[in-house]
């Protein structure tokens, strides 16, 4: 019942001519996310628990940030494969510094600067040396991960009283029930993620830089001929995505209190999956930050569902793959139907 009404609504609107067809995939993501929650709740009874919701956000604040970061390059038809590795290198350096007694604010700044440095490098490779974003960021990914391992392959923990951990940690209990599974809590990491989302939204929809990003995604050569600052925008994109990756690193390490060179392997792909599930087209030009956030949530809820359904271990990846596929196919179908 619910399905029918929610899916029909946009279609009706579309006939009115006002509705923007580009938003359909994103709306599909919202609907499916809600359906998945409902399904989880009905079958297993734990998905509406405040504790579940809280940890969905707290544990995935980093992924939400990465998804926003990844949205920028993907909107231009590029990609940033280095985000996972940047999380690793900034985390390792950050922990090293903290253990060396550096004050937390300084550490935060240095971590962000390291991220920015890799973004700048990617930007230079892409804009000055005509490397394709895929290859340029693949290179910076190898580079960042390599340097991270050179610095340390140890599992590093934060020292006590570091002035850093409060970013993650338990945060605040908004609703404190006797049972932890009914507590609604939030931590600074989640707030940072929300701020990043708002930042991404404003950047993309209310600044000229943001509109240039969409224009580049539509046609780079047209954007250039229109006299838009394409080159500068490209730098902004890769600088932003890398810096946000560093921010994700801060949130993540603060949350678990330790770091390591192997952190973040494959996260770039999770981020890409989130962005795509959220309705952004991988070839650029169409998409929304809010979609990516939903994509990240959908992506995050896949694992609990496979666990609860008792999917055999060997098949988990297949099932996760198929679920993403179903998503993409569904979106495609909706888009095609819309066009007709």
């Amino acid at each position: 019942m619910t399905t029918a009404t929610t899916v029909n609504a946009p279609a009706k609107k579309a006939k009115g001519g006002k509705f923007n067809a580009q938003m359909i995939p994103t709306i599909a993501a919202v609907v499916i996310f809600i359906l998945m929650l409902i399904m989880g709740q009905v079958m297993f009874g734990t998905y509406f628990r405040l504790g579940f919701i809280s940890s969905l956000f707290i544990d995935h604040a980093y992924l939400i940030i990465l998804a926003v970061a990844m949205t920028l390059p993907i909107l231009t038809g590029g990609i940033d494969l280095s985000v996972g590795a940047i999380v690793a290198i900034t985390a390792v350096v950050g922990m090293k510094l903290l253990n060396g007694g550096a004050p937390a604010p300084l550490v935060l700044v240095i971590m962000l600067l390291i991220g920015a440095a890799f973004g700048l490098l990617a930007g230079v490779l892409i804009e000055e040396f005509n490397m394709q974003p895929f290859i340029a960021t693949l290179s910076t990914m190898f580079l960042a991960r390599g340097i991270a391992s050179i610095i340390s392959t140890d599992s590093l923990t934060m020292p006590e009283n570091n002035g850093f951990g409060w970013i993650g940690g338990e945060g605040w209990k908004i609703i404190d029930n006797p049972k932890i599974s009914n507590d609604l809590s939030i931590n600074l990491g989640v707030i940072i993620a929300v701020v990043v989302v708002v930042f991404g939204y404003i950047l993309l929809h209310h600044t000229r830089t943001g509109r240039t990003i969409y224009a580049i995604g539509g046609s780079r050569s047209s954007a250039e001929l229109m006299g838009l600052p394409v080159k500068r925008t490209q730098y902004v994109i890769y600088l932003t995505s890398a810096t946000l990756a560093a921010l994700a690193s801060i949130v993540y390490t603060a949350n678990i209190g330790s770091a390591k060179n192997t952190v973040g392997v494959g996260w770039e792909l999770d981020a890409v999956a989130s962005v795509v599930i959220g309705g952004t087209i991988i070839t650029g030009g169409f998409g929304y930050v809010l979609g990516s956030v939903l994509g990240a949530l959908v992506r995050s809820i896949l694992e609990p569902l496979t666990t609860d359904f008792g999917v055999p271990a060997e098949a988990v990846q297949i099932v996760v793959g198929i679920m993403i596929l179903v998503f993409v196919v569904l979106q495609r179908a909706v888009t095609v139907l819309q066009k007709e």
Partner: protein, 509 residues
């Protein structure tokens, strides 16, 4: 009388591409309050000159002075900042964005919270209205309007910056007469406000109507700068093509009428062929050796009908007969298999395959009909390429150049060669003469007549009523995605007849 000071002076501009000197020491002066035309054949270097002035290409020699200051232009942004606004020959907008945004990109109105969309769209509406496009919704996606309208949007965009220099590279090639008049109206207004306008067009009538001064290029060389009203037409043509105008005798050739004998079967005949939202079910016959012209206003559905007959869009209604036999045409492949070819009006997106060579572009359709694993023998391929390079006078005459590096007109010739190579029984030409210089246009028109004389059925779609009337045996008139008349083109028919037909049916409906 005080001599006006030029706002732009380009001196000795030279630009080289691998193997071609596209420009060789060309001079150009633009004066405020004047419309200046760059004249020359296809490939003469007009667009290249414009791109030098807008910072798209870096110049290899020469100097550019804007407002008396020597200027280095390292990109379009520099040009824009120097007060130069440009509408390029190919539409360069972003189809993924809304119409209004395309107009305002980079100049959005800002409020305290970043871009203020309400104001921005209002501003866009204002600029669109200047172009007579007040009925467009600035929030609608650009992809929802036709290329011609996109061209107008691009011009609206150029008006957004307070330009000292406005460059229009062939803005009229896809506009109909009314729209051209509207455009000229605006150009005059802009000119009178003291802006220097650089204008390119292959229509001499338009040149004489709107321009004050001409610079003539030939083969990348500067020929002469003259005042328009002091230069008679044939002298101008002579300077452009380096031959006297008499030699262009074939201009104005008129088709010898092809009488359809009673009982004769058409090559192609469609019955109630249509597609929802694009073209209403339509009947149409094309006989061997007949030229059928499609006439209609912009957006009347001529292209849609052509595409449907080629299977570029799948028809959802009606039947298709080839030489009396029922066939099904649901893809370009099946159309080509049935010897039906279609040359698109959207050369850049649906025509050329930019990174392939001229030779490959010519052969690819023939190859596709033969199948992937039956390559055309080298000898045969050489012959075909040789033949059409010569016959259509493609320049530069090097089949191994990438087609994207050819000038627009020459790309068009290569595309026509591509379709001729498959020896179609029905050839649908959608705006084949758009953006083509007078010489080449005559050549193409001549070619159409020749093909018909050899027995090919031709559908000729053009926004220039003049050539439709001159070349066609019958004229199909479309309006609002519907065929409204089938006119046998005898001596009583003139452009006025067609215009009237369109207007009248509007009243009835």
């Amino acid at each position: 009388m005080t001599e006006k000071q030029p706002i732009v002076v380009m001196k000795g501009i030279t630009i080289e591409f691998p193997g071609v000197k596209a420009l060789d020491g060309v001079d150009l002066r633009l004066f405020p309050g004047e419309v200046h035309a760059l004249m020359g054949e296809n490939g003469a270097g007009k667009s290249t000159m414009i791109k030098a002035l807008t910072g798209v290409y870096k110049i290899d020699a020469g100097s550019i002075t804007v407002d008396g200051k020597p200027t280095q232009l390292n990109g379009t942004l520099d040009a824009q900042n120097a007060g130069i606004a440009t509408v390029y020959q190919e539409v360069n907008l972003c189809t993924n964005l809304s119409i209004g945004e395309n107009v305002m990109l980079g100049h959005e109105k800002r409020g305290p919270l970043g871009i203020d969309w309400r104001k921005t769209h209002a501003e866009a509406r204002k600029h669109l209205a200047k172009m007579g496009l007040e009925y467009l919704d600035p929030r609608a996606p650009l992809s929802s309007i036709s290329i011609a309208m996109q061209q107008l949007v691009a011009i609206a965009r150029a008006m957004v910056i307070d330009a000292k220099v406005l460059i229009l590279d062939e803005p009229t090639s896809s506009l109909d007469a009314n729209e051209v008049q509207d455009l000229f109206e605006i150009m005059r207004k802009v000119r009178d406000s003291g802006v220097a306008i650089l204008f390119v067009s292959h229509f001499l009538d338009q040149i004489y109507e709107i321009t004050d001064r001409l610079t003539i290029l030939r083969n990348g060389q500067f020929i002469k700068e003259v005042m328009t009203r002091e230069t008679p037409r044939d002298e101008l043509i002579g300077m452009m093509i380096g031959k006297s105008a008499d030699e262009l005798s074939q201009i104005g050739a008129k088709k010898a009428r092809r009488e359809i004998k009673p009982g004769e079967k058409p090559v192609v005949s469609i019955r109630q062929l249509g597609r929802k939202g694009q073209i209403e079910p339509t009947d149409q016959d094309v006989y061997a050796g007949e030229v059928v012209g499609f006439a209609g206003l912009l957006g009347s559905g001529r292209t849609e009908l052509g595409r449907l007959m080629f299977g570029a869009d799948k028809p959802d209604h009606g039947e298709y007969y080839l030489n009396g036999k029922k066939i099904s045409v649901d893809s370009p492949y099946t159309a080509l298999k049935n010897k039906i070819a279609y040359s698109t009006e959207n050369r850049r997106d649906e025509g050329i395959i930019g990174d392939l060579t001229v030779r490959q572009n010519m052969l690819i359709a023939l190859q596709a009909t033969r199948g992937m694993f039956k390559p055309i023998p080298k000898k045969e391929a050489d012959e075909i390429v040789d033949k059409y390079m010569k016959e259509l006078n493609v320049r530069p005459p090097d089949p191994n150049k990438l087609i994207k590096n050819l000038s627009g007109g020459n790309q068009q010739k290569v595309l026509i060669a591509r379709w001729l190579a498959v020896h179609p029984e029905l050839l649908i030409l959608d705006e084949p003469t758009r953006g083509i210089d007078i010489g080449a246009k005559a050549e193409i028109q001549q070619k159409v007549l020749e093909l018909a004389a050899q027995g090919m059925g031709v559908v000729f779609i053009s926004s220039e009523l003049e050539e439709v009337v001159r070349l066609s045996d019958t004229i199909t008139v479309l309006k609002d995605h519907k065929k409204i008349a089938n006119i046998v083109n005898d001596d009583t028919v003139s452009q006025a007849t067609i215009v009237e037909t369109i207007a009248n049916s509007g009243k009835e409906a």
